[in-house]
């Protein structure tokens, strides 16, 4: 199940090229454009947001529903974005050349840092209404899921088996029919898996986005996140526990009703010719498949939906024009396209330059980079500690099929739980015991994402070939030698995948974790996360942009310079043949 590597690992090159630079400029240009729109609007908003959040537990179910709805709205948007943008990138060589590096960069932008700016942007679009903040929250979750889903879909589109492509063309399927008959089904396993990973991360964002303070204004949306935020201000531990419990129930329902059935269902689309033993049917799927009424209803709905896919929209490709090999690229078209990209990148560069000249000094950059190294040290320390704990545990579990069956769903469940709901409890502890925030705020960063390490290691250990384990046993490989020769090489690709996911999210979480408050007490750890968080509180958008840019640069170079080569090395060494 976890054999699907994150797009950041498998796609693209290590060294940046001209397109990467153009993509960086364009992304930065858009961010600054958003900032410029948002800046002018800060003042007149002060009175607009005054949603009252009740701490009465009776309100919690309602809040939970609203939080969940935000999640699904974002998921729906991401899906539409994925279908449109990935298809465009796959069908147009020119579009792909700029879309792909842009996605790669967008993937590594810490959206939490940018949330305040997007809130202002959307509030400006819908002045005086709750809708703006609502859109900003949904947009935050969207930006957390859309990119890797798009990547996954694009990757499927470009790796479609050529014989199925030929079958589609020779039978004359129209583009619309082909999309629903080949493109989407082939992409389903990877897409569902990425969707689920994004959803897990999404809970974190939606909870955070419900209560955000920019300058003197606090935007609150009714939901579990804002409930916790209010409880935090009032130092109401009981309310926090109630919220955590509600969230547990929500995640459990989401896990059982959606996640598991969807993943099991997506197995049907796995492109393999041998029949594999499936890992058991989740009860919801069993219910639908075995209960007469539900099965009929699902079948009826499925038929209606399938009819849409059969529509002959668009004309079948009855010419050679669609052939990639036969297509002679028009020089003129290329020239116009390149000129447009260069012009756009140039304009973006000019925008970025004037923005920086007007609002920032070199010393700001220096502060940012120094802070970034502090956060980097913290991320690495957190990663090392969680590896030291979870690798042995994961291997122990993974080598025992029974334990694996028990632990794997729990780890996936925990990964979906928004860890920021637990922060207040930890912070209360730090305050009570007067611990050093610089050290003790660190674990918060990886609190929610350490589970990725656990379940990837478990998956890796349980995928160790039986014959190799037998060889190791029969030659008497024990202790460290067994780890060095068998276990570590075997789990390496999985561990790298898990560690990449965990660290990526840890950078993001640093914005929330390096500044934490408990009632009137505020704890600050030195680092880039705190820098961005404080800039947000101060409403200083130019510093936010700088902080976000530096953090993106760190994440991006870390992915390219460390994780990607490591993954390539590990998978090359551990694949036979």
């Amino acid at each position: 199940m976890t054999s699907i590597a994150p797009p950041a690992l498998v796609h693209g090159r290590r060294l940046p090229n001209a397109w990467d630079i153009a993509a960086i400029l364009l992304v930065m240009g858009v961010l600054i454009g958003v900032v410029s729109v948002a800046r002018g609007t800060l003042a007149p908003l002060a009175a607009a947001q005054a949603t009252h959040i009740h701490l009465d537990p009776a309100y919690l179910p309602g809040y939970a529903v609203r939080t969940t709805l935000r999640m699904f709205a974002a998921l729906f948007l991401s899906l539409i974005f994925t279908f449109l943008v990935a298809t465009l990138a796959a069908k147009s060589r020119r579009a792909a050349i700029i879309i792909i590096p842009m996605l790669d960069i967008l993937q590594s932008i810490p959206i939490l840092g940018f949330l305040s700016v997007t809130v202002l942007f959307f509030v400006n679009l819908f002045p005086g209404q709750q809708l703006g903040a609502e859109c900003a929250a949904i947009f935050a979750v969207f930006t957390g899921q859309a990119w890797n889903m798009t990547f996954s879909f694009y990757q499927s589109l470009t790796t479609e088996p050529s014989d199925l492509d030929e079958a589609c063309r020779s039978f004359g399927l129209s583009p619309w029919q082909r999309f629903w008959r080949l493109d989407v089904p082939f992409a389903v396993p990877g897409l569902v898996w990425n969707m689920m990973l994004s959803m897990s991360g999404g809970w974190f964002f939606v909870v955070y986005a419900e209560a955000i303070t920019v300058g003197n204004t606090t935007f609150t949306l009714p939901g579990i996140g804002s409930y916790v935020a209010v409880a935090l201000q009032r130092r109401d531990l009981l309310a926090i526990f109630e919220a955590v419990f509600t969230m547990l129930v929500v995640i459990l329902l989401y896990d059982q009703l959606l996640f598991r059935p969807l993943v099991a269902w997506s197995d049907k689309f796995r492109f393999e010719t041998v029949q594999t033993v499936s890992a058991g049917e989740p009860w919801v799927l069993k219910l639908v498949r075995r209960t007469f009424i539900l099965r009929e209803a699902a079948g009826w709905v499925g038929d209606r939906v399938a009819v849409i896919g059969r529509l002959r929209l668009g004309r079948a490709e009855r010419t050679f024009a669609s052939l990639k090999a036969g297509r002679t690229s028009s020089r003129l078209g290329d020239g116009v396209f390149y000129a447009l990209v260069i012009a756009a990148a140039g304009y973006a560069f000019w925008q970025v330059a004037t923005f920086c000249a007007a609002h920032l000094a070199w010393s700001d950059l220096l502060t940012c980079v120094i802070d970034a190294f502090f956060t980097l040290a913290r991320v690495l320390a957190a990663l090392l500690i969680s590896c030291a704990i979870w690798v042995p545990v994961g291997v122990w579990v993974g080598l025992r099929p029974k334990a694996t069956k028990l632990v794997q769903p729990v780890a996936q469940f925990l990964a979906a739980f928004p860890a920021n709901l637990l922060f207040p409890l930890v912070v209360a502890g730090i305050v009570a015991f007067r611990l050093l925030p610089n050290i003790w705020l660190t674990p918060l960063m990886i609190l929610g994402t350490q589970w990725y390490i656990l379940f990837n290691v478990v998956a890796g250990a349980s995928a160790l070939p039986g014959d190799l384990k037998e060889v190791a046993a029969s030659f008497g490989l024990r202790g460290w030698l067994r780890w060095r020769r068998l276990i570590i090489p075997g789990i390496m690709p999985y561990l790298v995948t898990g560690a990449l996911t965990a660290t990526g999210a840890a950078w993001n979480a640093s914005i929330v974790a390096e500044v934490a408050s408990w009632g009137k007490t505020t704890l600050v750890a030195k680092g880039l996360g705190a820098y961005i968080a404080q800039a947000t509180t101060a409403g200083d958008t130019s510093k936010i942009v700088l902080g976000v840019a530096v953090m993106s640069a760190f994440v991006l170079s870390f992915n390219r310079l460390v994780w990607r080569p490591l993954y390539a090395y590990a998978s090359r060494r551990t694949n036979l043949g």
């Binding site: 014989d163 030929e166 020779s170 004359g172 008959r181 689309f269 393999e272 036969g326």
Partner: protein, 439 residues
């Protein structure tokens, strides 16, 4: 020949040429001046070795590939893309794993916009015709290979095409299953139950071609062209053990192992000097030793008839011929008129012990395989006795497709390793003399 062959032309391929541009003014020619005419009511086989461009030709006819030059005419009209009236059966079946048998069969009709009721009736007909009744709701992964190819056939037949194209339809199946499918198909064809006018099939299996086709076009490789055309005069059902049948198989083997004609050699000479860029077949040294030992032993005593040898070893011509040619390249054996004969050098190799064999092989490889010699020479010339594989790959890619270049380089690496001529580091993509004892 079958009675229902007419003189009505269904399809005509004229002066078809397929080439892929390479760097500079080099190009890789896959098909060169191919002319094929297909009549109503016949089964025609395109027979040739892998890489002879016969699958490429099939795709050009299907409208899936545009020829570099030349024309394809279908019922008098030029082919400019996938044509209604031509359906294809794939070597790999190409079934949609997420669709049931019924849905897979219906897909061509869906594309034509046929209404649901008619779709279901016609799919039912095709499924019954091809012997898939009862499997309608099964998914491809639940089926055996033979059943999957039946789905592939039903999917093509349901559209009632005039021409059925089959790309090595039975080569992914085991021997017995393939035989059942062939007989079933021929039976349906003879009884005129197939809703098609003609069949064009690609194959590398000589017996299959003689068993099924009315006409066989033998392709030569590099570049692919129709080297020979023969008519199969036997009536269906055909008997593989019939002496005339055997004779025809023997004749085709002879055609396929024939030395190049003077015209071919002239064409080869016209090409730019390739240096070491001769494609190598990916044949392992164990396989070579095995064949040489078999040849040296009873009952062959150094000489064997290729079809007979293929039958005993359960090889197809496509597998045995590259092996024979590799031995010929290394001067361990010679191919002549459908026979293979072990040379003195080959006998020496068979009777030698492991170390001695390596020495004999090393000498043969350095003398006769230019690429191996070149690699060793470059390593010897370098002060650090190292050489990057990249430059060899680049040079090979100037003269052949990237896949072929990779295959050739891999083969040279494996031969050089066996002969202990050089070592190769996969991570660094470098040749070296590490652990190689100096002579």
């Amino acid at each position: 020949m079958d009675q229902h062959v007419t003189t009505h032309t269904l399809l005509e391929v004229s002066h078809c040429r397929q080439a892929y541009p390479k760097e500079a003014n080099n190009e890789l020619i896959v098909l060169d001046d191919v002319n094929v005419r297909l009549f109503e009511g016949e089964i025609v086989g395109l027979l040739g070795r892998s890489g002879s461009g016969k699958s490429t030709l099939l795709r050009i006819i299907a409208g899936l590939l545009r020829p570099t030059s030349g024309d394809v005419t279908w019922q008098g009209k030029p082919v400019r893309g996938p044509v209604r009236g031509i359906a294809m059966v794939f070597q790999s079946f190409a079934l949609f794993p997420w669709l049931s048998v019924q849905e897979n069969v219906e897909i061509g009709l869906e594309a034509m916009g046929v209404s649901r009721a008619i779709r279901e009736t016609r799919a039912e007909e095709a499924i019954d015709l091809i012997g898939l009744g009862g499997y309608e709701s099964a998914y491809p992964k639940e089926l055996s290979g033979g059943m999957r190819q039946r789905v592939g056939l039903a999917r093509a037949l349901v559209t009632h095409p005039d021409l059925l194209l089959m790309d090595e339809p039975f080569s992914a199946l085991d021997v017995l299953t393939a035989e059942t499918l062939r007989t079933d198909l021929i039976d349906l064809w003879s009884e005129r139950k197939l809703p098609v006018k003609s069949i064009l099939m690609v194959t590398h299996n000589i017996e299959e071609a003689v068993l099924m086709c009315d006409r066989i076009l033998v392709f030569s490789s590099d570049p692919g062209r129709v080297a020979h055309e023969m008519t199969v005069p036997f009536a269906h059902p055909r008997n593989r053990l019939d002496p005339a049948f055997r004779q025809m198989v023997d004749d085709i083997y002879a055609v396929m192992t024939r030395r190049k004609t003077p015209a071919d050699l002239r064409a080869a000479a016209a090409k730019p000097a390739t240096g070491f860029a001769t494609p190598l077949h990916p044949i392992g040294t164990n396989l070579m030793s095995g064949l040489m030992e078999t040849l040296a032993a009873e009952p062959y005593n150094g000489r064997a008839d290729l079809p007979a040898l293929a039958a005993v070893l359960q090889y197809e011509a496509d597998e045995l011929l590259p092996l024979g040619e590799t031995l010929q390249l290394l001067h361990f054996a010679e191919l002549e008129e459908g026979d293979i004969r072990l040379t003195d050098q080959g006998r020496r190799f068979v009777h030698a012990d492991t170390d001695e064999r390596k020495k004999i092989f090393a000498e043969a490889a350095r003398t006769h395989v230019k690429l191996v010699a070149a690699i060793r020479q470059v390593i010897d010339e370098r002060w650090n006795h190292r050489a990057s594989a990249v430059r060899f790959r680049d040079e090979l890619e100037d003269h052949m497709s990237p896949e072929r270049a990779e295959e050739t380089l891999r083969t040279a690496i494996s031969w050089g390793r066996y002969a202990e001529l050089y070592a190769y580091d996969e991570e660094g993509q470098q040749f070296s003399l590490e652990d190689i004892e100096e002579e």
